[in-house]
Symmetry: C2
Subunit: 246 residues, 2 copies
């Protein structure tokens, strides 16, 4: 285990939307490192071009994007699914997305946006909690129960709206139901006004590797009509993608 690599990565992760500019002490605090250690990490990152330093605050540079998006680029998934997403989105007139699971979060890897429904802009690399999203439910349902429970227990389940399920037993039951019916439906649990419907995407071995969803404004049609109306299209794409063995 190379300790300094681990510490350097912690320092990079210390930067976020809320904290784009960090002093040495702040960095040390957030990353849980000694000030001296944080300083060495930051100076090294600056020297390598991953950070800028104005003598007081550090910021990270676009160079850091080479790390993460190098990763997105290694995934054939986004390129494979994008044309299907585009067609599907066009056909049903709604935004569609594909995401994968990283611990308790879903990570968007491809997206075809129609008019904006959500308040925040989602793009490849964006993250949302798994427990309250349709794609998250589908992806958690594919894990064994013990692992799913472990992930759900790891972080507090925030009620993002008054409709959000936050009881772990209720969530576990919902995962079982999702597994049984093959898709997940969410009614304004992430954000008021937003519903969504998701199905799993399988690899050649039949393992769930991603989820495909459609997002809908909540006032367009009654909740029970949604699956009837959009599920066939999602399942067709699911089937087509299974053929080309992702």
């Amino acid at each position: 285990m190379m300790g300094s690599l681990a510490k350097g990565l912690k320092v990079i992760e210390a930067f976020s939307a809320e904290r784009p500019r960090l002093s040495i002490s702040e960095t040390a605090e957030i990353a849980g490192l000694d000030r001296a250690t944080a300083r060495r990490c930051l100076l090294t990152l600056a020297e390598l071009g991953y950070a800028d330093y104005d003598g007081k605050f550090f910021t990270i540079t676009p160079r850091v994007l080479r790390l993460g998006t190098g990763c997105l680029a290694t995934m054939p998934l986004p390129r494979l699914v994008q044309p299907w997403l585009d067609r599907l989105s066009q056909e049903i007139g709604q935004s569609t997305s594909v995401s994968i699971l990283d611990e308790g979060e879903i990570v968007y890897v491809a997206r075809a946006a129609q008019q904006r429904v959500m308040s925040i802009a989602l793009m490849p690399g964006s993250r949302l909690p798994a427990y309250c999203t349709s794609m998250g439910r589908v992806l958690l349902a594919a894990l064994d129960e013990q692992r799913a429970r472990q992930i759900l227990s790891a972080k507090p389940l925030i009620a993002r709206t008054e409709k959000t399920l936050t009881d772990i037993e209720a969530l576990m039951r919902e995962l079982a139901a999702t597994r049984a019916r093959g898709y997940a439906q969410i009614d304004q649990e992430v954000e008021i006004g937003l519903r969504s419907l998701a199905v799993p995407l399988f690899d050649a071995r039949g393992q769930t590797i991603a989820a495909l969803n459609v997002g809908l404004p909540a006032n367009q049609e009654p909740m029970q009509e949604i699956a009837k109306k959009y599920l066939p299209a999602l399942l067709r794409v699911q089937g087509e993608l299974a053929k080309i063995s992702i």
Copy 2:
């Protein structure tokens, strides 16, 4: 300088779309490290959850996306420009994008796609060479001449199509012209069938910090009509964004 952090980051960057799975020796070769060092880095990354190891090959995990997209998230730019891009794209019926410069490459930070023109899917985080793109020309034109020349000299200038400018003096003249006229136009230098038009975006101090462009299919209208038709809309958005002082 923390050497091991620098080496670990090199290892992460060794992974790419062409080489998503690497053995220890391959990694060492690509990153220019000793095998023993590469091995320690990879095992550390695996232990931290940034990589997977099947006993033979390493792959990187979605966790790596936390590094890069943490960075994208720190930038207010994408969120600020996205609504404007969406409106602009809708209005002119073409794909629009905003990108920033990282050395010799442009990095897409926001995008509003209409029908696909380019063969490859562009998304936030995607990279293209600066010398042959309209946004790249605009961003290079904002640097001082010496720095621009240095960047252009750093890597061989590939002729991606028969129209691509690859002569450094010709490019420097084009940058000067771009600086003078305030926008850049590209006719199928990245890819046959694709034209584009870009303007700089300024921060509160008047510094160029990003570029805004529109991409067009090459057969839609004569080249000389493009600026006349689309430049006013781009300049209007440029002006609006200047007001809210990015």
